[in-house]
């Protein structure tokens, strides 16, 4: 069975410091991976995706993610955190049994302190 795990419920970072939000996956075949961000009482916003190609994927708002096949990871990163980055972040993987569906992780709450 395929799955995606976000091992940290909460990540706390000081403004200006680099941030990492972790994600690991389990899927047969080539993974199609995604990151989304959700601000309070809002819908999810698509940040970036990895389908194939360069292992470092750049996305919206200065975020990037690194695909690591040997570690089955797809960590979200940003060189310098902003207070406005505080939100709930979801990692997701395409469901290989149904290309129409995406499997979401449980979410990581990112808190950036001034």
């Amino acid at each position: 069975a395929q799955s995606v795990a976000q091992p940290e419920d909460q990540v706390n970072v000081a403004e200006g410091n680099p941030l990492t939000v972790k994600c690991t996956y389990s899927v047969s075949g080539n993974p199609y991976l995604f990151w989304y961000v959700q601000y309070p009482n809002r819908g999810l916003q698509f940040l970036l995706k990895y389908i194939t190609g360069d292992n470092l994927v750049k996305g919206s708002y200065g975020f990037e993610a690194e695909f690591n096949k040997s570690q089955t990871s797809f960590h979200l990163k940003k060189p310098s955190a902003l207070v406005s980055d505080s939100a709930l972040y979801f990692c997701a993987v395409r469901d290989v049994s149904s290309a129409s569906k995406i499997i979401f992780g449980s979410g990581t709450r990112l808190s950036i302190r001034p």
């Binding site: 199609y32 989304y36 009482n41 809002r42 819908g43 698509f46 129409s100 995406i102 979401f104 992780g105």
Partner: protein, 112 residues
């Protein structure tokens, strides 16, 4: 560009009352459409998805139902709401041939 709308934004309904939430997408044709529920600001639960008009796949058997009367319209319904139906309901769409989904602003439902 494509946009997705959901209404109402918030809804307070008594137990046993009916429900109708609507989602529409603009700027695209033949999208895949999805209904999710999010409880307590955390994980997403896929409720229904549709790959075309009149084609509905149910992921979770419960007292909710979905319909797609038009290409870009997706409706979530219930005949009698339960307390456990409270939550944040999100509609999403995906373009044919693409992989990522795009979400609407959501509807906050409170069943009292």
């Amino acid at each position: 560009s494509q946009t997705i709308h959901q209404w109402p934004a918030t809804l307070v309904q008594p137990v046993g009352s009916p429900l109708s939430l609507e989602c529409t997408v603009e700027g695209t044709s033949n999208p895949n459409l999805y209904w999710y529920r999010q409880a307590a600001g955390r994980g997403l639960q896929l409720l229904f998805y549709s790959v075309g008009i009149g084609q509905i796949s149910s992921e979770v058997p419960q007292n909710l139902s979905a319909s797609r009367p038009q290409d870009r319209q997706f409706i979530l319904s219930s005949k009698k709401l339960l307390l456990s139906d409270s939550g944040f309901y999100l509609c999403a769409w995906r373009a044919t041939g693409a992989y990522e989904q795009y979400f609407g602003p959501g509807t906050r439902l409170t069943v009292t």
